[in-house]
């Protein structure tokens, strides 16, 4: 075997690289020898949590991943669903949490770059980006800095590459103070027959690495940053964060799509976490073949890189393709035209092994099966925590006057207007955007064959912390409610599971319960989980983050001209409640402002009943019955009414029978505020509660009364911009 023998201190090196003692022993047993430096570096990455999903894979296997509309399921770079007319939509959400906590601008930018590559790696043109962000309270300077730079990074990358950022969400909670979350979702459009897989095939076929040159940036990102808790000295880890170049990615994207369109590729894979170390074995494993690569042929950004550095580099904007030798010249010509570097670095073999050469010298040889499937999968040991794991938030609201409560809620960072943030993103490029951020509960994009898709992303960590099972059910249903408000039925779900250290029993319990809920919710809605990402070890010295399953949904609506909107639109319209309105204050935004501890559980949710309500809303939107539709979420009914009024610059007069605080501000799953002509609403199962009109929001509930000018509401709602600008 190799001239480069195993290092004498292999065991200690393995531990330093994040492998466990048992895992190192297993590698030695499977290889029947000790790994050398290059091999050890590769094992440490492929067997890291980030690449192997060793603590989550057994759970993820319980999720429903099939269905009639599914055209590409989990396991590929992204999953895809059929949207009719011969078109498919590919989508996926992924995290870039720890890089963003260390260097927010590049961390967030390369998070977007990575998810874009996942989408064009399956041959789809990226048509939308969404992001899901979590920070500590914006009263903290660090949180404001992280938010400002992360938003800047997302915009820098997405805007420069010509893919619209059409939606997203951001929450601010204490437990994210040290460990922010930056999740990015991308949606792509492709002719179904043009989807391409990553399985290498055809011994003798060539591996072409194209895109940017390989440098020392991002070395160890997946193992150093993504698979361990964030501790002290985060700044020292900055060299592990990759640097993004959106112009390079733009050329890489156009080049990849042209190569696919001209049918010049056998397989395509992006280089993400762990670089070549991950991409090469993954392609070989999926195709059940072997691959030889020669690192001497890898174009490099700097001289004298160590072989292991070339193998593990996370330099951005690179793709790996399998090409038939007869098509090589055409492939290289296309790369030249797009000014993306390209080099043949290896070939497909029948060996079922990965062999790494440095010129003539063999410097690593590992069976594909051992590298990719040899990593042990761990059963979790979940245990329900005896008490709340989280300190109660600071109390910031004392008043019991409904008017000042409403104003405080509208000014709360979790509810305040997000315009200041989303105006930093191009939401119109590509000429598909029918509903922009702020216009509706979900973004709507028209497709070439006349129909439209709706996209939303959601996840309330506080509710999941209170009750991982019901909180996760609520997150899926809330996201589906957003789709219903524009008239869309969900087609598929992607998720990013952001949790703390799963080796701790209470975190394992959160994760187990949350995944169980995700499966139950998807089965009830009859949608597949098309793929996703797991981000674990999200905790710092001050404890775990709120468990945060972020769900992204793609749905379809037949006619974009009938897409729903949030804003009240017509003076004199009736306002109605649709769905079972059973609001509760525990774990609500108001409870947070009052500094209340999380409750031990959330109210039971009738999933089938909520799904039926979604169908009612969806069909009515499609039929043009409503002028506006908005789901009741954070801040409850009063905030939902205020949001519709502010969006439309039209007031409302509402009368409620019940005077209790929870009717106004309690939160619930499966209720909607809609408006429309009274005659049109009459045929619907709903409760009329008021009328649209004027320039004030009036809500009377017995002796309790809210009567505020829209200008007052707008001023409160602008609190986030005031805080950041």
């Amino acid at each position: 075997m190799s001239a480069k023998a195993a290092p004498p201190d292999g065991f200690q090196r393995a531990l330093d690289l994040g492998l466990k003692a048992d895992e190192y022993a297993r590698i030695v047993a499977l290889l029947e020898r000790e790994p050398n430096v290059v091999e050890l570096a590769m094992f440490s990455l492929l067997w890291s949590e980030h690449c192997s999903y060793k603590h989550s894979k057994l759970l993820l296997r319980t999720l429903p991943s099939g269905g009639p509309g599914l055209v590409m399921g989990p396991g590929e770079n992204a999953g895809a669903v059929d949207v009719g007319g011969g078109w498919a939509v590919a989508f996926k959400v992924e995290s870039h949490n720890h890089p963003s906590a260390v260097e927010p601008f590049q961390g967030a930018a390369t998070g977007v770059g990575g998810i874009l590559r996942d989408i064009f790696a399956v041959g789809a043109r990226p048509i939308a980006v969404l992001d899901s962000l979590r920070f500590g309270e914006p009263s903290s300077e660090r949180s404001r800095y992280l938010l400002d730079r992360a938003v800047g990074g997302i915009g820098h990358y997405g805007n420069s590459i010509g893919v619209p950022t059409i939606g997203g969400e951001v929450y601010f909670e204490g437990p994210y103070e040290q460990n922010c979350l930056v999740n990015a979702m991308c949606v792509g459009l492709v002719r179904s027959e043009r989807l391409i897989r990553s399985a290498a095939a055809g011994p003798g076929n060539l591996l072409v690495l194209f895109g940017a040159a390989t440098g020392r940036d991002g070395i160890g990102g997946a193992s150093v940053l993504a698979s361990a808790e964030l501790g002290e000295g985060g700044a020292d880890k900055r060299p592990s964060v990759q640097i993004g170049d959106p112009f390079a990615e733009k050329k890489l994207m156009e080049c990849s799509l042209e190569l696919r369109e001209r049918d010049l590729l056998v397989a395509l894979q992006d280089l993400g976490a762990a670089g070549l170390t991950s991409a090469v074995p993954e392609m070989a494993s999926k195709g059940d073949v072997g691959i030889d690569i020669d690192i001497a042929h890898v174009p490099r950004r700097e001289a004298e890189m160590e072989p292991f550095e070339i193998m593990v580099s996370e330099s951005q904007e690179r793709m790996l393709a399998v090409v038939e030798p007869s098509r090589l010249d055409e492939v290289l010509a296309c790369c030249l035209r797009w000014e993306t570097g390209a080099a043949v670095i290896g070939e497909v073999t029948e060996t079922k092994a990965i062999r790494i050469f440095d010129g003539d010298e063999l410097i690593g040889e590992m069976p594909v099966e051992v590298l990719v499937d040899g990593c042990p999968l761990y059963e979790l040991n979940p245990e329900r925590p005896p008490a709340d794991l989280y300190a109660p938030p600071a109390r910031t609201l004392d008043s019991t006057d409904p008017q000042s409560i409403l104003l405080s809620l509208l000014a709360s960072p979790n509810i305040a207007d997000r315009r200041y943030l989303y105006e930093q993103y191009d939401c119109v490029v590509q000429s598909r955007t029918v509903r922009r951020p702020g216009a509706a509960d979900a973004a709507v994009l028209q497709l070439p064959h006349g129909v439209a898709i709706a996209v939303a992303i959601d996840g309330n960590g506080r509710r999941v912390a209170a009750d991982p099972y019901r909180g996760t059910i609520a997150a899926v249903l809330e996201c589906a409610a957003n789709l219903a408000c524009v008239g869309a039925a969900p087609l598929g779900l992607t998720n990013c599971l952001n949790f703390a250290n799963p080796e701790k029993a209470h975190i394992a319990w959160q994760l187990t319960e949350s995944v169980r809920a995700l499966g139950d919710a998807c089965r009830a809605l009859e949608i597949p989980v098309v793929g996703g990402n797991v981000s674990l070890y999200n905790e710092g010295g001050e404890g775990p983050i709120y468990p945060t399953p972020v769900v992204g949904l793609v749905g379809q609506l037949p006619d974009p001209a009938f897409a729903g909107q949030t804003a009240f639109a017509c003076e004199g319209d009736a306002i109605a409640l649709v769905g079972t309105f059973r609001p509760a204050l525990p774990a609500s935004e108001l409870a947070k402002l009052r500094g209340e501890r999380l409750p031990g559980s959330l109210p039971e949710i009738d999933i089938a009943g909520v799904a039926a309500t979604h169908a009612i809303v969806r069909e009515a939107v499609r039929a043009g019955v409503f002028s506006s539709a908005h789901d009741i979420a954070e801040g409850g009914l009063a905030v939902a009414l205020a949001e519709c009024a502010l969006a439309g610059d039209l007031g409302a007069d509402v009368e409620l029978e019940d005077v209790s605080e929870d009717r106004l501000f309690g939160e619930t799953v499966g209720s909607f505020v809609v408006s429309g002509a009274l005659a049109a609403l009459a045929g619907l199962d709903c409760t009329i509660i008021g009328t649209v009109g004027g320039a004030r929001l009036r809500i009377s509930a017995g002796s309790s009364r809210i009567d505020l000018a829209l200008e007052r509401l707008r001023e409160a709602h602008a609190a986030l911009a005031a805080l950041l600008d």
């Binding site: 420069s160 797009w338 119109v428 000429s431 029918v434």
Partner: protein, 224 residues
């Protein structure tokens, strides 16, 4: 009638511009590395980040092979419309007066803005009603129009200021709310707002379509 849309490797709104042009005329893409204008009647330089906008927005693009032909075409009286990054390229190439600086907010801004038509008597605006208000999106980081005061006075006096942001709707701090200017000869027009993103009410507005229709009408000599 044939419009050409320049495609740099970092153009983002080139396809959108082609879609908008196709509503009023034939359209072909003009590849940045070529030297052939393919006999087009007008050239659109679209938005985006031509070469990553490294160095300075539009500064590298101005030296692209295709720009040699575009500059000759313009100097010979050919009609050129530069949108956003295309406006920046035209300023860098000396086809338009002034310069585009970083927004006063120092941030990217994407927003629907209201524009006032200042000069309806141009090849780019002749089909629009005098005094029209146009709802068109802007999206840029480098859109603050600047020229020395004396130059601004002259531009205004000669009718070269074509579009202004409506009062209180200036998104970038442009001097005198200037959103679009044309060359002294009236054949080159640059604007920061994106008319190609305002050609269909379904996606927000169709107020930008008139600019493309005006150019077609001007070039075909038809009276409106």
């Amino acid at each position: 009638m044939k419009f050409g849309v320049v495609v740099f490797p970092g153009s983002c709104d080139d396809v959108d511009a082609q879609l908008a042009c196709a509503r009023v005329a034939d359209v072909v893409p003009l590849w940045h590395a070529d030297h052939d204008l393919q006999g087009v009647d007008a050239v659109i330089i679209p938005g985006g980040f031509s070469y990553g906008d490294y160095l300075r927005a539009g500064a590298i693009a101005r030296f692209a092979p295709i720009m040699t032909e575009v500059i000759d075409f313009a100097r010979a009286g050919g009609h050129v419309m530069g949108i956003c990054n295309g406006f920046q390229v035209c300023c860098e190439a000396g086809l338009l007066p002034g310069a585009l600086l970083t927004n006063t907010s120092l941030r990217f801004v994407c927003r629907q803005v209201s524009l006032e038509l200042v000069n309806p008597d141009t090849p780019f605006t002749r089909s629009l009603a005098p005094g029209a208000r146009l709802s068109i999106p802007v999206k840029h980081t480098t859109g603050r129009y600047y020229a020395p005061a004396a130059d601004l006075d002259r531009l205004e006096a000669q009718g070269q200021v074509v579009l202004r942001y409506a009062p209180a709707d200036n998104p970038n701090g442009s001097l005198r709310d200037i959103a679009g200017v044309m060359s002294e000869q009236g054949n080159v027009f640059g604007l920061m707002p994106h008319p190609e993103h305002a050609v269909d009410p379904l996606t927000g507005s169709s107020d930008g379509l008139g600019l493309f229709a005006s150019l077609r009408d001007a070039l075909s000599g038809s009276l409106v």
